[in-house]
């Protein structure tokens, strides 16, 4: 980007560059670019290069080709199954967050008493963080926690429910941290839709289902896609809660956990990078699918924020 600076400063050339939008004030971009290249592009490319330099342990088990890490990734069920385990967590949770946030955001889009209070309550989980959420779930929903105690006392169940240290625990923790995000995002998209469009549909005699399907949903689709992607990314890279409230060696052995295991416990940096890069790829595939779905919906301007 420093073309404007490195070229010989003959007046005409500088003028020609300035016409194309290159001049010395673009130097303001340089620090940010240096950080982006040094801390993101370089390590990332280095990581990709690393995946083709398998460690001795990997080579001993999966052959000496430079693709040994990838061979291991696809053939070792212990690692490969973690894709499915991650998906089984992240997809339902992201879908749930978006699908549930839509009606809630609809109900709460008008002004009413206590709206501010409710919004603040919804922001609260952001302050909890994954670690306190995990600790709280272990205590609250554990075998002797208030939830099981209450359900036992009113006679709804006979034995304490197993709500933590398994798949359900991670789902709860992901919903608690992800739902507020989805709600706040969808609220902001919803407030960007001109209410007169809906009013027009109403005038033409559309009932609420038609209005929702034919008017609101297409307008909201880009927002829904974005929200889904963001909550999916959040749930997909789940790692502390999968370890703390999940079953880290069983039903919630997610990819992030496998990547960290290779990195921190086995010190197999090439394998860790391989898993990390594959995580990025799997995530990109899901995002691409969502974006394709979105492109089939209404394509015009939505007036939505963001």
């Amino acid at each position: 980007m420093s073309r404007g600076q490195t070229t010989k400063s003959t007046a005409s050339l500088r003028h020609r560059l300035a016409e194309r939008g290159i001049d010395s004030s673009l130097l303001m971009l340089v620090p940010a670019l240096i950080f982006a290249v040094a801390l993101f592009i370089y390590p990332f490319s280095y990581g990709i290069g690393l995946t083709f330099q398998p460690s001795a342990a990997t080579q001993a088990q999966w052959g000496t080709s430079i693709f040994a890490n990838y061979i291991a990734f696809f053939n070792d069920p212990f690692i490969f199954d973690s894709i499915w385990l991650t998906m089984r967590l992240a997809l339902p949770v992201a879908l749930f967050n978006v699908v549930v946030a839509v009606p809630v955001a609809f109900k709460l889009r008008h002004k009413f008493v206590g709206k501010k209070f409710l919004t603040i309550l919804l922001v609260l989980p952001i302050t909890l963080g994954t670690v306190l959420t995990a600790q709280g779930l272990l205590i609250f929903a554990g075998r002797q926690g208030w939830l099981n105690r209450f359900l036992l006392d009113i006679g709804l169940i006979d034995a304490p429910l197993a709500l933590v240290n398994n798949y359900l625990g991670v789902v709860f923790s992901l919903i608690i941290s992800g739902f507020p995000f989805a709600f706040l995002l969808i609220s902001s998209y919803l407030s960007g839709i001109d209410p007169s469009i809906e009013a027009a549909a109403k005038t033409m005699g559309a009932d609420w289902l038609q209005r929702f399907r034919r008017v609101i949903l297409p307008l909201l689709a880009p927002g829904l896609a974005t929200t889904f992607i963001l909550t999916f990314v959040l749930a997909f890279s789940v790692f502390p809660s999968a370890r703390l409230v999940g079953d880290a060696m069983g039903s919630t052995r997610v990819m992030a956990l496998m990547a960290f295991r290779a990195f921190g416990e086995q010190n197999d940096y090439p394998m860790a990078s391989t898993i990390a890069i594959m995580m990025g790829l799997v995530e990109l595939v899901v995002i691409a699918v969502v974006l394709v779905w979105r492109s089939f919906m209404y394509k015009g301007s939505t007036g939505g924020k963001g």
Binding site: F40, L118, I126, L132, L185, Y269
Partner: protein, 308 residues
């Protein structure tokens, strides 16, 4: 929502007119609220369930952190504060809090200094490869932290700066700088460029425009962005965890390590009291934050609707 810094009127205002009718129940024939009545109950029941979990989680951690002993009963037998003093000494909380604050403040200062000028250029100018550069700044925010965190941490360990404070600050800059750029770009776009042009006409150079014209106008936006970076940095687990060591653990990472320590971890109450300290810190930050920014900004870039 405290939107003092937001110049546009709240977006729900166009909805206001139908409101009185809705509340009185005397609707025109055929006019219904969009979601039918039974679903209203489902929505409220769901919201209530969510809050029961939320409040339950929060209260049980707080009660646990004061309780001694608390086993098979609704409430602990005694309430004491000794867990806090124990945890403070046992984990060297003064040091951990110091590290957390140092990291957060350094990250805020660097990411603002680096991010705001870049955001200014992206907001005001067109130049070759602008889309590519924008994408480059977007990527770290969109990717799961582990994906780039592991290669980055590998590089840091190879360079020998693993487990140091520098490494923790550097990894936290990766998502923070793009985040500042993304939040500041729409903010700068909405500042009227004629103000700068007028200053330029009056003979101000770039530095004068920056310090005398833009900086005062940018302060609300910079404040909002810094608070968001603060929230994200204090809460950032994955990246910090990958490169931090015993001397450079931030609070979240220290709690996680205490929970997963070999041999079943520390006493539950010690961890609870640390978690309460963490949440209290975050709440203070957020209460301050909500004075300057709207809640939706916490989760996404919100382009203030310029069409109003």
């Amino acid at each position: 929502m405290a939107t003092q810094t937001v110049p546009s009127p709240p977006a729900e205002s166009p909805d206001a007119p139908p409101d009185p009718r809705r509340r009185s129940g005397a609707r025109a024939p055929g006019e219904k609220s969009l979601v039918a009545a039974p679903s209203t109950w489902i929505v409220w029941a769901g919201t209530a369930a969510f809050f029961i979990f939320l409040v339950g989680i929060l209260t049980s951690v707080v009660v646990d952190s004061f309780g001694r002993p608390w086993f098979d009963s609704w409430l602990p037998e005694n309430f004491v504060t000794s867990w806090y003093t124990d945890a403070w000494q046992r984990f060297g909380m003064a040091h951990i809090m110091g590290v957390t604050l140092t990291v957060a403040l350094t990250v805020i200062v660097i990411s603002t200094l680096v991010g705001v000028p870049a955001a200014y250029q992206l907001a005001r100018r067109t130049f070759p490869f602008k889309r590519t550069i924008t994408l480059l700044f977007l990527l770290p925010v969109l990717m799961p932290p582990i994906t780039y965190g592991i290669p980055l941490a590998t590089v840091m360990y190879n360079l020998g700066i693993g487990r140091t404070l520098t490494a923790v600050i550097l990894v936290n800059l990766v998502p923070s700088i793009p985040f500042v750029i993304i939040t500041m770009t729409p903010f700068i776009e909405q500042i009227n460029p004629t103000i700068e042009n007028a200053a330029r006409m009056s003979g101000a150079n770039m530095r004068q425009i920056l310090t005398k014209i833009l900086l005062p106008l940018l302060i609300p936006g910079v404040l909002a962005a810094s608070i968001l970076v603060l929230v994200r940095t204090v809460g950032m687990f994955e990246l910090t965890f990958l490169v931090s060591g015993p001397q450079s653990d931030t609070l979240v990472v220290a709690i996680y390590r205490a929970m997963t320590a070999a041999g079943g971890g520390e006493a539950r109450q010690l961890i609870s009291s640390m978690a309460v300290v963490y949440t209290a810190t975050m709440m203070v930050i957020l209460i301050v934050a909500l004075r300057y920014i709207s809640p939706t900004q916490l989760v996404a870039r919100v382009k203030e609707s310029r069409e109003d």
